[in-house]
């Protein structure tokens, strides 16, 4: 039987209330969002907060909207709401494709995008998506909000730049007219963490790639991204040869380790193959846009 260690519980009523509680309680407190990451960690005693501050009552943290040229997703927006969002799908089908292979429909009803980002699992699908899209995190503390690029959000496995007394409040993704996007994942069984995943966006204009982003999860790529592969594509025609060269470069930016999900060379092969498949589909979508 797995039970968390003794813990105190507080339910926050607003962002300001959550922050003031977390600041007062200090580093032994943790905010809890959907709970499908933190509570298992507490049951395994890998996390032992003295107090959990529940964010589930804070309506202002939920919702998806367009603001200027950005898509804004509240940190407490559930996976199910991201999956079914017409706004996100219109601009970036990658969200629907990634969410469709995250956990299972019940977990997606309560699990949140912000919780997933802050868990910072090396296999986090949404971290790969966020890095591919070069999104930003809005982190709020008692002295105000700061914006951090998602490619600088993680400090390593299970570590983020969110400090004690701060919470992640929003995720922001730049809208890119004409972009195509796609997500590819190989998993051992439905809903599992990926053996390897790759998510990309591409903008093709005038016969060449004018913008792109490549994200990968579960293969230990720095900040879940492949900037050298992206550089290879910029200004190039989206030919199969060029896409394959970029996919191979992305695999070289992965540093997979062998574990129960597979040997390292297999994962590196997947990084190349899945990136190529995602690039092909994103290019086709951009050219059709």
């Amino acid at each position: 039987m797995q039970t968390p260690a003794p813990v105190e519980y507080a339910k926050a009523t607003s962002i300001a209330d959550a922050i003031s509680r977390l600041e007062a309680l200090g580093e032994d407190s943790r905010p809890v969002a959907g709970g499908y990451s933190l509570i298992p960690m507490m049951k395994l005693r890998l996390a032992r907060p003295e107090t959990v501050v529940d964010l589930n009552g804070i309506a202002e943290l939920r919702g998806i909207r367009v603001e200027g040229n950005e898509l804004v997703v509240g940190a407490m927006t559930t996976h199910a709401d991201v999956l079914s969002s017409a706004i996100l799908f219109e601009h970036y089908p990658i969200f629907r494709e990634a969410e469709h292979v995250i956990a299972d429909p019940i977990v997606r009803m309560r699990g949140t995008i912000g919780g997933s980002m802050c868990q910072a699992d090396p296999a986090s699908d949404l971290s790969a998506v966020g890095s591919a899209l070069r999104g930003n995190a809005v982190i709020t503390g008692s002295s105000g909000s700061r914006t951090v690029p998602l490619r600088e959000f993680h400090d390593g496995p299970y570590e983020t730049v969110v400090q004690t007394g701060e919470i992640l409040t929003e995720l922001r993704y730049p809208i890119r007219p004409g972009a195509g996007s796609a997500y590819e994942k190989v998993e051992r069984r439905a809903g599992d963490w990926g053996v390897c995943t790759s998510g990309v966006f591409v903008v093709v204009s005038g016969g060449v790639i004018t913008d792109c982003g490549i994200g990968m999860a579960a293969v230990n790529a720095d900040h879940y991204c492949a900037p050298e592969a992206e550089a290879l594509l910029m200004g190039k025609a989206p030919t199969e040869e060029n896409l394959a060269a970029a996919a191979a470069a992305a695999a070289n930016e992965a540093n997979p380790i062998a574990d129960q999900r597979g040997p390292a060379d297999y994962k590196r092969h997947l990084a190349s193959e899945l990136t190529l498949r995602a690039l092909r589909r994103a290019v086709a979508a951009s050219q059709g846009a």
Binding site: Q2, T3, Y9
Partner: protein, 158 residues
């Protein structure tokens, strides 16, 4: 910590440790054993209940988080002594062997049918992907949920 939860229309108040998981609150504190406790890792879905109408894996939620909420467990499916269509479906279609996954399957199945009265077999397959059965190979479970879809004439309040 004092917690009050409405379960199947009845208010239950208890003084519990905040670390108490909802599944243990239901099974141990309230002695309602219809909800099963399976993998303990939010994978198997045996512990699925509804919290304010939405399915939740109750092994991965603190009972104190359900304060003020309306929880429905498998015991809440029966109305005035009459089985819910999902329960009829599992009976008519032999939707179980050992029965361990059954409460969770029924809570998920009924919710799926409520969400989409025209749900397809393929959509049901995906919908129960968070509920694991180690006996049946799922065919009869799919039949049972389809039965509930086709006989969803009685009302269940979420």
């Amino acid at each position: 910590m004092q917690v009050s939860v409405n379960i199947n229309g009845v208010e239950h108040s208890r003084d519990i440790e905040p670390r108490t998981l909802l599944v243990h609150f239901i099974r141990d504190d309230l002695q309602m054993r219809g909800t099963h406790w399976g993998c303990d890792t939010s994978n198997c879905g045996a512990c699925t209940v509804w919290v304010d109408g939405a399915p939740v894996k109750s092994c991965t939620m603190l009972a104190v988080q359900a304060e003020g909420a309306e929880v429905t467990t498998v015991e809440g499916l029966v109305k005035d002594g009459a089985l819910d269509p999902i329960q009829e479906g599992f009976t008519e279609c032999h939707g179980l062997q050992c029965g361990y996954c059954t409460p969770g399957m029924m809570m998920t199945g009924r919710w799926l049918v409520d969400q989409n009265p025209n749900i397809t077999r393929e959509e049901i397959r995906e919908g129960i992907s968070g509920n694991i059965c180690r006996c049946t190979g799922y065919k009869n479970i799919l039949d049972a949920i389809e039965y509930a879809r086709d006989h969803a004439n009685s009302e269940v309040s979420a």
